[in-house]
Symmetry: C2
């Protein structure tokens, strides 16, 4: 700020939050979208959003909004970027801070979500989105891919215990391409962040696959780079 004193001569703007909410279910990477019940763009699909309040940071606002709709606290959230095109919202000048969230579908309050007219959509077949929300989704997916390439995501999206097949399907959904079974297994296990349980899952294969879970107390910094997927 090179201009002086008070800021009164400058304009103020509405600042909103829009959340790209990722969930993983039935082998599908999904987004939680809302059917807008109000103008502008009433009846179209949009991301979950809200406005930033006087006493909160945008991170706080995003957590507040997510908790209200999913019932969950401690959600993984990351800022994507701000969208400031003066014409992005036809109703007025609103800047929007994009976030992406990773949700444990098995733990969220699905009744509340349904009541609010929300619906999980597969990222492979999204409806037309309102305003610049498709761009937000694209940017968010890119950020998620970066994160997943740098560390093993899973605890934020999968149930507590999961098979390597489920983990691989998650990665295939994130990167939108198929991964080699053997190579994936070796790479993931070499990271030394998973522990095998004695229990097996027999619903997805004849032979049955061991369940795994994330080791406790793994600092998230146990590996610098997960490599290329």
């Amino acid at each position: 700020m090179i201009m002086g004193e008070k800021y009164n001569k400058f304009s103020k703007y509405f600042v909103a939050i829009d959340c790209v909410i990722f969930g993983y279910e039935d082998g599908d990477l999904r987004l939680l979208l809302y059917h807008r019940g109000f103008e502008p763009a009433k009846g179209q699909w949009s991301l979950l959003g809200g406005f930033v309040g006087d006493e909160e940071s945008s991170d706080d606002a995003a957590h507040r909004i997510l908790k209200a709709i999913t019932g969950l606290e401690d959600i993984y959230l990351e800022q994507v970027q701000v969208y400031t095109n003066p014409k992005r919202d036809p109703e007025g000048r609103v800047m929007s801070i994009g976030y992406y969230a990773l949700i444990r579908v098995d733990k969220h309050n699905s009744d509340k979500v349904r009541e609010n007219g929300a619906h999980w959509w597969s990222v492979k077949g999204l409806p037309n989105l309102v305003f610049d929300h498709q761009e937000m989704v694209d940017n968010a997916l890119h950020k998620l891919q970066q994160k997943a390439g740098l560390e093993l995501v899973g605890s934020e999206l999968l149930p507590d215990k999961f098979t390597l097949l489920q983990l691989r399907r998650l990665y295939e959904a994130i990167f939108q391409r198929e991964l080699d079974t053997g190579n994936f297994r070796k790479k993931v296990l070499s990271l030394n962040v998973l522990e095998r349980l004695e229990e097996k899952n027999t619903t997805e294969s004849r032979r049955g696959a061991y369940y795994f879970q994330f080791k406790k107390g793994v600092t998230d910094k146990s590996f610098d780079r997960l490599g290329k997927f």
Copy 2:
């Protein structure tokens, strides 16, 4: 105004821009910092900033501000993130969108810069910065490192022609560690984006080193990954 009829119950905020301006000179990665001539935090050092105007996007605002102070258009700019802590500016609620810029020191208007009380500081020895500006610098440097690891930066920071020693020193400054001469040379040349000129620079070594320049018409997408530095 028509604007915001529907949003009237929500608050509006000042939205500022703060730019982390990187330049490279004398083997040093430097930042352009301003001595604040006004309250709050008068007399301290800060990033170059300004407020977003009614009819412009934040990208536009950042370009406008940078042009006003450096005389340059077509500056490489990238959004870092938004800073929204309600207490970040003691004078009032101001959200700030952080950007980083790469400047050709040899082309910028150094007189204008000096008139405004600005000064280039080496990133290795920055003064105390105002508000959360140090955090912005850290985040910006991290983003720059990411970019430099994905593609060959250089044309945005170096003169049109440069030696591989100068390019290596730039990378050493960005990553803040020493790089192997031979390996750096091989990696960089293998990207096939530089062309050697016939001219040599004899000021930095006895033997003299060939100048290189970026090939014309290289799409910036000529390589997916520069690898690990």
